[in-house]
Amino acid sequence: MSQAMLTVKQAGPLALIQDLGRFGVGHLGVTQSGAADWISFRWANWLIGNAPDSAALEIVMGGNLSLVANAEVRLALTGADLGATIDGQPLATNTSFLLRSGQTLIFSQPRRGLRAYLAFPGGLNAPTILGSRSCTAREQIGGLRDDGKPLQTGDQLTWQGNSPGERSLPEGTAPAMPEKSCQLSMVLGSQASNFAGRSLYNAFNQPWTVDNRADRMGVRLTGQPLHCTLGGIISEGIPLGAVQIPPDGQPIVLMNDRQTIGGYPRLGALTPMACALLAQCVPGTEVHLSPVSASQAQIAYRKQLSHWH
């Protein structure tokens, strides 16, 4: 019998193999990578009983990505509603489901959210590079052929385990996808004191709009510009979610594929939960920044992680 697999009949614009990310390698200049909406990613693995770091697919937009199964397999789908169907029948998100031999799974277009996560039994097979299977286009690292390329038509996806048991999402735990607007928690950084008072007020009291210049490296927000008295700074390490303010005053939130060091002043950093939410915001979404302390954020983070223990 041939190996169970899914074949990519048609590649969408961007589907990437991701796990939780590449850690302990920032000093090499290698970025963190990993699932941008790590909360939905973790639920996808949880739904079919996988280890939390099992490699899954991050599907952006959909764009008619079509996957055909050659054997029955149980998969899990979370995150954005990309109008997924199996042989034309609508498929609900936040569930595990059976894809039978010969059936075609298609992701059409975003209806709510931007990134869907598709988990496979035991996790997808892909080379482990520097401790992770995450795929980073900019670094030409990871992916099926370790060239950082997204899924291509004709690619064959195989996985590590057998279909485990089915699980259902506990009530009220499904991550909410942002609709017209959402709130993003941010930990103020020490450089915040270098922003004019008016700018600090504006940062938290005006709606920001998610720009179409948004990808896995960074998401640009547009609104009334912020002014920092620091021009550039000497390049230093950049954490996930860093809100950097380039000279035009329009913030860029640095995401999973960011450069490891950079020289723009920063207002602070979104919390990991806020980063996951921002990763689901389509361009045009209105976002409000709200300040939280590092310890408040850590409490919320621990609460989020406790769902999976």
Binding site: F23, G24, G26, L28, G29, V187, S190, G237, P239, Y301
Partner: protein, 234 residues
């Protein structure tokens, strides 16, 4: 050296040691890097040293912000600079040629030098590796002789070939892999920086020294160098 701890994110602290770029910082940065790795142990997720700072990404499941601050302060209280300030010296062979180093004439003209003298000037210094970043294995090096310092291109190239050696202001660097970039490209090396980084063993490390050596096309090719001209011109 004056230690300051700054909140960078929910689970990240910027450890600031200096305010200006200086080669003498590196012995302290290297010492702090090792000390912090030892002190944080399993609670350390990532540690990114740079010119004047170290970014500590810690596991907030194991340590609170207050605990990590205390741990860092006590670990660095009696810090002394690393003994060997020199690190390793790497000689990097470079084929300086306009086909793979399109800004050679421009940088030479700005400096009022012949192309030959510009190459000599670029090779006539042991550059300090200040930081790794931008791309896997990419080392920011300096300081370039003020006479040949040249600002970045107004419009960055979409594609700079792997191995390209460039300068921007008083810094110089090698692009480990094909990437966009705005530095003035003078030549190309066959040294596979990206492959070293991907194995987790970067050739260039902060505090190391780099000396460029001009070689001819034949030697560059023999070392496995790619002679394809830069696809795009500014």
């Amino acid at each position: 050296m004056k230690l300051r701890l700054e909140t960078a994110a929910m689970d990240a602290v910027t450890v600031r040691l200096f305010d200006t770029i200086d080669e003498s910082n590196m012995a302290w940065i290297i010492a702090a890097d090792q000390t912090l790795r030892d002190a944080l142990g399993e609670a350390l997720i990532d540690l990114i040293p740079s010119y004047t700072t170290l970014l500590v990404h810690y596991d907030s499941q194991q340590l609170t912000f207050g605990q990590v601050a205390t741990l860092i302060r006590s670990a660095l209280r009696h810090l002394t600079p690393a003994e060997s300030q020199d690190g390793q010296l790497h000689e990097i062979p470079v084929w300086y040629d306009e086909s793979v180093g399109p800004e050679l004439p421009l940088v030479a003209k700005r400096a009022g030098l012949s192309v030959g003298s510009l190459i000599e000037r670029h090779c006539d210094h042991d550059y300090c590796v200040f930081a790794l970043g931008f791309a896997p294995g990419y080392g920011f090096m300096g300081l370039v002789d003020e006479g040949i310092a040249t600002p970045r291109l107004k419009t960055p190239r979409r594609k700079v070939a792997a191995g390209s050696v460039g300068i921007a202001d008083r810094q110089t660097a090698i692009y480990p892999l094909l990437s966009p970039g705005g530095w003035n490209i003078l030549g190309r090396t066959a040294v596979p920086l990206f492959e070293y980084a991907k194995r987790g063993e970067p050739l260039l490390r902060p505090g190391d020294k780099v000396r460029f050596k001009a070689i001819g096309k034949a030697e560059f090719e023999a070392a496995g160098g790619d002679t394809t001209p830069m696809e795009e011109r500014p």
